[in-house]
Amino acid sequence: MDSFRQAFDLLFSLDRELLQILGVTMRMSFFSTAISCLIGLPLGALIGTKSFKGKSFLKKLIHTLMGLPPVVAGLFVYTLFTHYGPFGELNLLFTVKIMVIAQVILITPIVTGLSSSFIESTSKPIIETARGLGLNNLKIVGLCLSEGRTSLVSIVLTAFGRSIAEVGAVSIVGGNIQWKTRVMTTAIMLETNKGKFSFALALGIVLLLIAFVVNALASFMVKEAKND
């Protein structure tokens, strides 16, 4: 109960550092989700609708990458962007940008895998019917998106959930630097290591509250669209 009280105190005290951490967390999660969806959704649509050589292997590869351990992704990005790495000159290590890059590597396979499965199973009758009516590709894509919006919102939420809850990759490439790259999850890890369990738990509750609000908003939007 103490943790709950502390969580609400934290939220309503408008603590400057907490707000900054929240800001970085939301910025990182928003951009990594958006970029992953921009890459993953069209890629998933392509894999879901087209037949090509090597499709089965590509699907296996994507399914494997869906389970990519975050620390491995973090290490991979760290190696690429470290001072001696191929992209070292960009000086992106320990910035929010590199955290977004690591997250995109982690989340894009999830978005691609889920959307290709959805399109393969659900969109087939939609595409068949729409093509049969002689509708153009743009209209067909519009119909698929409209018909599958509940599933698509679930995919986006899954990506956002993965992004906001991630700790391994962002701590490796971001470094958990105060006032710069510290996010909710790395802050929780730090507070736990310091033995401030109650405060860490309070931060966890704040993180859950954010996830809940985002989910509730998405559910509301889907419900509104259904009633149209």
């Binding site: 009758p125 019917t129 093509r131 049969g132 009516l133 509708l135």
Partner: protein, 219 residues
């Protein structure tokens, strides 16, 4: 005119369609019958450019419409489901009336029964103009009255537009009432070709006899 030459469709080693020659004159209503897996839907899907043939030549009108076997209900009411293909509301209402669905026009399409949904699917197709109409088992989910409405609507559409209709069916009544010509497919090959009445009453081959024997009890 539709002209098919040496058409083959194979899945791995299995040949599901093997038509040496088939010519369909303009304005004909052709019923394609045959047992499950005989290649009826494959033929229609190839003609509708939904499926690629493994080999062969097809000359058919580009302006075609295709109604799949599994009718799909898009979100929205019945009118929305018809107007999404570009038809105006008035046309949609007329078609719904013709297929006796106007009392459901404001209902959600997802709430329809199988037979109603199949009639809605036909409305959607008939709301557009085409030279070739491809219908995959258009009455499979309909009751007697529903099937009669479908037959009348297809014939009326053909009269108004002068188009060619190719429809697959398991229903002898549909073939007898609507079609000018019928082919029976067996293992992907044409086993019988003629008017539905001739094939039904005077089957020439043993294969056609055994196939239509089952129909005589149904019709």
């Amino acid at each position: 005119m539709i002209e098919i030459k040496s058409l083959k469709k194979t899945y791995r080693e299995r040949t599901v369609l093997d038509i040496d020659k088939l010519v369909i004159d303009d304005g004909t209503i052709l019923a394609v019958a045959g047992a499950n897996g005989s290649g009826k839907s494959t033929l229609l899907r190839i003609l509708a450019c939904q499926l690629k043939a493994t080999e062969g030549e097809i000359a058919s009108p580009e302006n075609s419409l295709y109604m799949p076997q599994q009718a799909y209900a898009f979100r929205g009411n019945l009118i929305d489901n018809i107007t999404l293909s570009g038809a105006d509301r008035e046309t949609a209402k007329q078609l719904l009336e013709k297929l006796e669905l106007s009392h459901l026009s404001e209902k959600k399409a997802t709430s329809l029964s199988g037979g109603e949904l199949q009639r809605l699917s036909l409305c959607r197709v008939l709301s557009r103009k085409a030279e070739l109409l491809l219908l995959d088992e258009p009455t499979s989910a309909c009751d007697v009255r529903g099937a009669e409405l479908v037959v009348n609507a297809i014939k009326e559409y053909r009269e108004e537009n002068g188009c060619t209709v190719v429809m697959s069916t398991h229903a002898p009544a549909l073939a007898l009432k609507a079609a000018d010509r019928m082919i029976i497919l067996g293992n992907g090959k044409i086993e019988a070709d003629g008017t539905p009445a001739d094939i039904f009453n005077k089957p020439e081959t043993d294969w056609a006899k055994s196939f239509t024997a089952g129909w005589k009890t149904d019709a």
